[in-house]
Amino acid sequence: MFADYSGSELLSIFAMQGFAGLILFSVFVLMALGLAIIFGQMGVINMAHGEFMILGAYVTYLVSRAFEAWAPGLFGAYFFVAMILAFFVSGGLGMAVEWLLIRRLYKRPLDTLLATWGLSLILQQIYRMVFGAREVGVTIPEWMMGSLVLSDMIEVPINGLFVMALAVGISAGVYILMYRSRWGLQVRAVVANRTMADAVGINTERTDRMTFAIGCGVAGVAGAAFTMIGSTGPTAGQLYIVDTFLVVVFGGAGSLIGTIASAFSISQAQSILEFFLSGSMAKVLTLLAVVGILMVRPQGLFALKLRK
């Protein structure tokens, strides 16, 4: 397939494809980080993860409309306000959900699957009632929609760079929170041994609530960022949920490094295969590879070492 192209054309196309892979990687990391915190640290299978993301997207939509109406001069910067708000709104909803629903189910992890799935249906219908069944169009500031022209052939989409920067920033934030802060220490203590953590005076209930809220908040930020590349509708969250679980399970529950490594390998495999094969076939082969590896290593790429 490359016979007709010159060396420089091939070089630039591979460079572009490399960027495409990195953008996909960043998208996967953003999708999966929130879930990795919730599923990995708390063992809660949050089927409503996609709906928390879409809540972030709807917050972005509302903020964009508000800026359009009241502060059109600052429109170029609304996105940052939207992301911060998205974090707090999704996080706040997460906190409420944990208090109302999840904390009653810690002893029955499989039931969380059904309960959160029900929650996702309820949220979808609420979005439909509030925002209408149709997708809403989120206007993205002009400066974020263009591309950087590096040469004739190489053009890097700015929103892709933005997603990459955001992925790096949020990963760093989560890392600091989990491994360099007192709260992270408590979370890890609760994960390692709930009873002992309780005994040494850690408020495990509050820790759980905060963990769930932060996981949901991160999902909200991801959702806000995805308004640049995807659709915002009541059921759009469903588009992301399968890939998200795939990344977290493949990476090994409980390991943030694992999540990042798995996002990297899945995204690279998929984007390279997509280039050489058709889109559907690429997906099939990627899934087959993941299934194969999980059969050999059921605990995922990186497993947390725990004394049981």
């Binding site: 209408g132 149709r134 929609m145 997906k283």
Partner: protein, 422 residues
């Protein structure tokens, strides 16, 4: 905003009402028997099979998804059908009987569609059903309509390869939509190479098959053909491939949420569609989809279908105005919404031609029925239960509307089983 399923109060102004009824009456004289009062048509004579027809009322069904993934697309169809029913009632109904409707929710789930279709036909005994959107839902209800002998008015443009006596297809089948568009792009834009792209299910695949056959017949070249799973949101790889292959035309049949992702990423990757290098031609993006995509992200793309909201003719102007009065100023009307609007009108015309609500008589009366009041212009039902209609090409503008740049001179014959294309 979606509304409750009950009929909202009419706000038709008197002048508007007079204008539309006069226009409809003028069109209706072609096939309306003498007299429009119910007593001219005793119930026992016009309803011999026990349908839900009384001396004053006739019940029809509306069967679309108002919940689930497909609610995005099907909402417009429901709105158009309710508008048509309300307008028909304002003119005195069908054979002097007001239309009452029972609405069921297919919930984006194909077995639910079949179940609800059975309920409408068996329990409610509706005289006809306006409904379905995806081919999958139509295939699911087809055996029900054939077994219990009902009439379905199906609004979506679709892949063809079907012809049931119990269905009137008010949207275009694939060859009507595809061939005229490809001829246009080769003749006026001099396109030589094509990149076919689609979501991975029957409609895009069948349509691209027809497109490929036609392109090859014209002696031109398909340089790539690709399918992505429904709901796919990452198109950077295929965009790179397109950049590498440098086709003259990207022929895109991407649907649903993927659509939004595809056009946003295409723009972000520096492919400016207004430069037409490559030119983008789609058959799956109506004004409805552009609301989600954002007009600024698809400006300059071309779409090939039979109806655009911006069509300039008195029928369409009245339709757009009435639609916005009923459902809100910010509404947009896409191809399928207009096709759905035709359903109740075509059924009314068939009932009046047959002088009866009996399904068998409607089936027989349907071919040859003309509608001069259609927003898209004149349409006529073919022997094969599809519509003769014009095909148009529109260019997407930044405000989310299409500007019509081409229209076939004649009506295009529907050909659901095209020889040499399958």
């Amino acid at each position: 905003m979606t509304r409750k399923t009950s009929l909202p109060p009419t706000k038709l102004s008197r002048r508007h009402f007079l204008a539309t009824s006069a226009a409809a009456a003028a069109g209706a004289t072609l096939f309306t028997p003498k007299g429009l009062r119910a007593q001219d048509f005793p119930t026992a004579a016009v309803n011999t099979t026990g349908l839900a027809v009384t001396d004053t009322e006739v019940t029809v069904g509306i069967l679309h998804s108002v919940t689930g993934t497909m609610a995005i697309s099907e909402t417009g169809s429901v709105q158009a059908e309710k508008l048509a029913i309300e307008q028909i009632n304002a003119q005195g109904g069908v054979l002097g009987r007001k239309i009452k409707f029972v609405q069921e929710d297919g919930a984006s789930d194909w077995p639910t569609f079949a179940e609800k279709a059975k309920k409408l036909l068996v329990d409610d005994k509706v005289a006809s059903v306006m409904g379905c959107w995806t081919s999958a839902s139509r295939k699911a209800v087809l055996p029900v309509f054939e077994q219990y002998n009902g009439m379905l008015y199906y609004p979506t443009f679709y892949e063809g390869l079907e012809q049931s006596p119990n269905v009137i297809y008010t949207g275009q089948e694939a060859t009507q939509q595809i061939i005229a568009g490809l001829d246009w792009v080769t003749q006026t834009k001099g396109a030589k190479t094509f990149y076919l792209l689609g979501s991975d299910y029957i409609w895009p695949r069948t349509s691209n098959k027809i497109a490929r056959k036609h392109i090859e017949k014209l002696g031109l070249e398909v340089v790539g053909e690709e399918y992505y799973p429904l709901g796919h949101t990452q198109f950077n790889s295929v965009i790179n491939k397109i950049k590498l292959k440098k086709p003259d035309v990207i022929y895109a049949i991407v649907v649903g949420g993927s659509n939004v992702a595809f056009y946003k990423q295409l723009k972000a990757a520096g492919i400016d569609m207004t430069k037409e290098k490559p030119l983008l031609l789609t058959i799956s993006v109506t004004e409805d989809e552009i609301r989600g995509i954002g007009g600024e992200n698809i400006e300059g793309a071309y779409a090939c279908m039979k109806y655009f909201q911006s069509l300039k003719n008195p029928n369409n102007e009245a339709f757009v105005k009435a639609f916005k009065e009923m459902w809100g100023e910010d509404m947009v009307i896409g191809d399928v919404t207009q096709a759905a609007y035709l359903g109740p009108w075509l059924w009314k015309a068939a009932v009046e031609k047959a002088g009866s609500f009996d399904i068998d008589k409607i089936k027989e009366a349907s071919p040859g029925i003309e509608l001069t009041t259609a927003p898209e212009g004149y349409v006529k039902i073919h022997e094969n239960h599809h519509l003769w209609s014009r095909t148009r090409v529109g260019r997407a503008l930044a405000d989310g509307q299409y500007e019509v740049v081409f229209e076939t001179a004649d009506l295009v014959e529907p050909n659901p089983f095209p020889e040499g294309y399958q």
